[in-house]
């Protein structure tokens, strides 16, 4: 029996093989790519021993930080005036969330090149003569020579913020050595510090969130997440950023191992204006807003679409979410039916409404009789889940299933005949609905389409750019739908059906949990923990802030993953497990 309650038996995870394997994955992946990085970091991160894992500790997950986490962390640590220019590594959606894909990602050589250049930019800003007074808490005794004491003070401070925990002696020493060597060689203390800072910013301990488990003193046979890992989970869930000084203090003091300590921090995190950043990050992930990076429209058919419209539409969705869930502390379900949203001039043209403001953004409420229904009819869903040249009830159905019902759709078979669907000039099949119904007569297709299309059919009075329309090719669009025995009409009807659907509620709970802990819930968790949390969520009026609170203060949130999960992740990384590691 390997498991003991929520904790993994110490016998299941030995630090000797596991840590070295993970460390080598992270470090060698980045070290092989740039000789210059090797030069800078040759002392600091040349071996697995550099990772600050004691023999008692184990790394239970590595999660590459996202672009927003990188940007937010740099801004939080160094200030908002640092410009970060670079292409971030593409993220990967796994089990419905990018957050789960991040647990499965490495960094390519090209990607590391980008991170390294960004690190150089930040480090250059850090030591710039105009800024150093702000960043450096000490002044070197001689600016043209090494000053180990001052270097140690500064590197310790910023290393802790970047690594989300204090640097160990083993981590600090080689970086100090580098700073000293650089200062001596360049006859410039700050040049040496710049090199050391590049090393910190390029280190796997910064670019990856290494989740560490340690022996549980209250249960010698079990593991628990260490305080710093807990702090990082909280800060990334609530604020999408590295832990602040207060969280790191709570981690160091052991407060995060107590229920009271966690609740105190959660309360603080919820009250902060930074909650908006965390909410934006979560819903960007859940609502697949990353698709904006690749969405295109046929310019001849949808000439209003532009990068400005795409950026605005993404922002519209996030503003709507933040307004409803954070500013109003409102009911999550209303996101599917509400008529209030935010507009700027380009979006107003797409939605064909007046833009009644001087400039920028303004709150706007659609009339009661409009077909607008919350996020469902925004460009982020109706427009993004469409083809470049035509709407697609199927794509929209897939989107709704995945985003709001947590129901992934299998990829279509390779030999599907799309000719009927694509023939938009067929005089007998003027609407998408008619073409899809004809297509779905094929028994090979009907099984999936029956589950997917009806949801999308309801949105057909919005074209591929989410512009309102009544007709397609001169034919009045029929938006009456029967979905698994439930009849409804149009986008408003769809919104109301989803509003009441318990799967929609539990899907959000599942996503918040999975996003926070970096893994999808097991079937056991879905049937137990997620159900319980969903019921609690309902009792609290489906308020997002309560959901964050209840998930983050649950024991499950800090639970050390079961050994099968760890083993699976390791296999996925082609890490050879040694007998005895598990």
């Amino acid at each position: 029996m390997f498991f003991s309650n929520n904790r993994v038996s110490r016998k299941t995870l030995s630090s000797s093989g596991l840590v070295k394997s993970l460390a080598s994955v992270a470090v060698t992946n980045v070290l092989i790519v740039l000789p210059i990085f090797a030069a800078v970091n040759s002392h600091a991160a040349s071996s697995s021993e550099s990772l600050a894992i004691s023999k008692e500790q184990v790394i239970v997950a590595t999660r590459r930080i996202t672009e927003t986490q990188y940007r937010n962390s740099i801004a939080a640590i160094f200030g908002n005036d640092i410009e970060i220019n670079g292409l971030f590594e593409p993220e990967q959606r796994l089990e419905l969330l990018l957050a789960l894909g991040s647990s499965d990602l490495s960094i390519s050589s090209a990607g590391f090149n980008q991170y390294f250049n960004m690190a150089r930019g930040v480090a250059s800003h850090f030591v710039n003569s105009e800024n150093r007074e702000h960043y450096f808490s000490c002044v070197p005794s001689n600016a043209k020579a090494a000053d180990e004491k001052c270097a140690s003070e500064v590197l310790s401070k910023y290393g802790k913020a970047l690594f989300r925990r204090p640097l160990t002696e083993a981590e600090l020493a080689p970086r100090l050595e580098l700073a000293n060597a650089g200062a001596t060689q360049a006859k410039d203390f700050y040049r040496g510090m710049e090199l050391a800072m590049i090393g910190l910013l390029s280190a796997p301990e910064f670019l990856f969130r290494l989740e560490v488990a340690e022996p549980d003193p209250e249960n010698p046979d079990a593991y628990r997440l260490d305080g710093y890992t807990k702090a990082a989970r909280l800060s990334h869930l609530f604020w999408d950023v590295s832990p602040d000084a207060e969280l790191l203090r709570a981690a160091a003091s052991g407060e995060l191992h107590t229920e009271k300590g966690v609740k105190k921090q959660v309360k603080r995190l919820l009250k902060s204006p930074n909650l908006e950043a965390g909410t934006r990050a979560f819903f960007s992930d859940m609502l697949h807003l990353d698709r904006y990076a690749t969405v295109t429209k046929d310019a001849q058919l949808y000439p209003k679409f532009s990068q400005t419209v795409a950026n605005s539409a993404k922002e519209q969705t996030l503003k709507t979410v933040v307004h409803q869930l954070i500013e109003n502390d409102g009911d999550y379900r209303d996101l599917l039916t509400m008529r209030t949203t935010f507009m700027n001039r380009p979006l107003a043209a797409v939605y064909k409404i007046p833009f009644l403001a001087e400039d920028g953004w303004t709150e706007y409420t659609f009339p009661k009789d409009s077909e607008q229904s919350g996020l469902l009819t925004q460009i982020s869903l109706a427009g993004v889940f469409s083809h470049p040249g035509k709407s697609s009830p199927t794509l929209r159905g897939v989107g709704i299933n995945e985003i709001f019902l947590c129901s992934p759709t299998p990829t279509p078979p390779a030999n599907v005949d799309f000719s009927i669907i694509n023939d938009t000039n067929n005089p007998n099949l003027k609407t998408s609905r008619l073409r899809l119904e004809a297509h779905a007569e094929d028994p090979a297709c009907s099984g999936c389409h029956r589950m997917i299309d009806p949801l999308g059919m309801a949105l057909e009075r919005f074209d591929a750019l989410a512009q309102p329309r009544l007709y397609e090719n001169g034919e009045l669009i029929d938006v009456t739908v029967n979905f698994l025995g439930t009849s409804f009409t149009g986008s408003r009807g769809l919104g109301e059906v989803l509003y009441e659907n318990e799967r929609v509620h539990s899907c959000l709970v599942r996503n918040v949990y999975a996003y926070g802990v970096g893994r999808a819930p097991t079937s056991k968790e879905r049937n137990g923990f997620i159900k319980e949390q969903t019921a609690e969520f309902a009792k609290k009026g489906f308020r997002f802030s309560y959901l964050l609170n209840q998930i983050a203060t649950s024991e499950k949130f800090f639970e050390v993953p079961e050994s099968e999960i760890v083993a699976e992740r390791l296999r996925a990384r082609n890490v050879n497990l040694v007998a005895g590691d598990l």
Partner: protein
């Protein structure tokens, strides 16, 4: 700011009839003008300057600067210096070419008429402004339809062979220049058409409002003016007007002559007296058509004279020649005191896209042309001295007019006769 406009949005989306303020209206359509040019007919089959039925000799030749600058007080060396591209002086002294160093941009009659090739064809776009079918051109419509007679467009007659304007629809180089400027945000013109009837296509009580807008035009992904954008009216005395019209089978047209105030294509307020309009609104919601009327020849002249040598260079027009042509072909609003016609019949071609027109403060969507009535006083800016003092400080003395100028020109005879 929280603003809710359910009823307005319904209207915008073609919804219900709503009464607002004390003006009853049943429908409204907003537009942003996306192309605006003189309604000149191009009689050649290719190019933009080939000889054609309109101008058998092609376009006017470009100005010979060496010739026009040659005066008693200039040597060839002086002219070389003025024309030296390394030391451009033309903008500064290009207009000083009267016999007594008069600036011909201010006193064009100081030099004899340099002459212009004028239109000799018989087809023109526009309106029968004087209700006399026996004078003027034969009509050609926006789709090339013909049949009507008596089209008054002597502005076309006067300068229709000018290189700047000549060319097929939307192809003349000056039209491209000014419309590009409009597309790039130099100015924005909007229209609001509203009616009282249940069927917008056939409504006897229609109002058409012309306004300037504060907001810039937005270009779409294929480089055309984007539809459905919102534009705030920019209150501009002299540049706006509301005129009565009707719709018949989807065509918006004036019944009786009206005064139309709008921005001219070249900047100044344009007052079209005894004017007409005729617009066609397509199923895609876009509008094409014409506005026309009699425009003050002084206003026409000042607009180009203000550009001076730069205009002469880019428009390939000799400014005094333009002044003489305007004098020659003025055909409206006879002034018994001066014994001259003071206006010239003209027409403009307009293309407009559907847009949403809102109040100047963007606090409400305008739902009828009459809901916003600015200062439509015809000469508001002229009375304020706008543009007058600099270019036409004195009336031309009759005795310096060359003999070929007819102080009371007969209206143009139909060219086909």
């Amino acid at each position: 700011m929280r603003i809710h406009f359910p009823h307005l949005t319904a209207l915008v989306l073609g919804g219900a009839c709503v009464a607002a303020s004390n003006f009853a209206f049943a429908w409204q359509k907003g537009f942003v003008i996306e192309w605006y040019e003189p309604a000149f007919y191009y009689g050649a089959e290719e190019g933009i300057s080939a000889p054609g039925t309109d101008c058998p000799a092609g376009t006017n030749p470009e100005m010979d600067w060496r010739k026009v600058l040659k005066t008693s007080y200039r040597t060839d060396a002086d002219i070389d210096t003025i024309l030296d591209p390394e030391k451009p002086q033309r903008a500064k002294v290009g207009g000083i070419r009267g016999p007594n160093k008069e600036n011909v941009y201010q006193i064009p009659w100081a030099v004899p008429d340099p002459g212009l090739q004028e239109v000799t064809g018989d087809l023109a776009y526009g309106f029968n402004l004087d209700a006399d079918e026996s004078t003027g051109f034969n009509h050609i419509g926006i789709h090339g339809e013909t049949g009507k007679k008596g089209i008054d467009n002597t502005y076309y007659k006067a300068i229709g062979c000018l290189k700047a304007w000549r060319g097929p629809t939307r192809e003349g180089h000056h039209a491209k220049y000014v419309n590009d400027g409009m597309h790039n945000g130099r100015f924005t013109l909007v229209m609001l058409i509203s009616g009282e009837g249940a069927d917008w296509r056939n409504d006897s009580n229609v109002k058409v409002g012309f306004y300037q807008a504060k907001d810039k035009i937005v270009m779409d992904a294929v480089g055309k003016v984007a539809s459905d954008y919102t534009f705030r009216i920019n209150p501009s005395p002299g540049y706006e007007s509301i005129v009565r019209a009707r719709t018949r089978d989807g065509i918006v047209e004036t019944i009786d002559p009206v005064d139309i105030h709008m921005r001219s294509i070249d900047r100044l307020p344009m007052h079209l007296r005894s004017g007409h309009l005729n617009f066609e609104i397509g199923e895609d919601g876009k509008l094409i058509g014409f506005v026309g009327g009699y425009r003050d020849i002084d206003s026409y002249f000042r607009e180009w004279a203000a550009g001076g040598a730069i205009f002469e260079l880019t428009m390939h027009i000799n400014i005094p020649a333009y002044w003489y042509a305007l004098q020659r072909w003025a055909d409206g609003h006879y002034d018994p005191v001066s014994g001259r016609y003071t206006t010239i019949s003209t027409a403009y071609r307009i293309y407009a896209n559907p847009a949403i027109v809102v109040s100047p403060t963007a606090t409400e969507a305008l739902v009828a042309a009459a809901l916003f009535e600015g200062n439509n006083e015809p000469d508001a800016l002229a009375k304020a001295g706008f543009g007058r003092r600099r270019y036409v400080p004195v009336e031309p003395p009759q005795d310096v007019l060359p003999p070929q100028i007819k102080p009371r020109p007969e209206k143009i005879e139909q060219a086909s006769r």
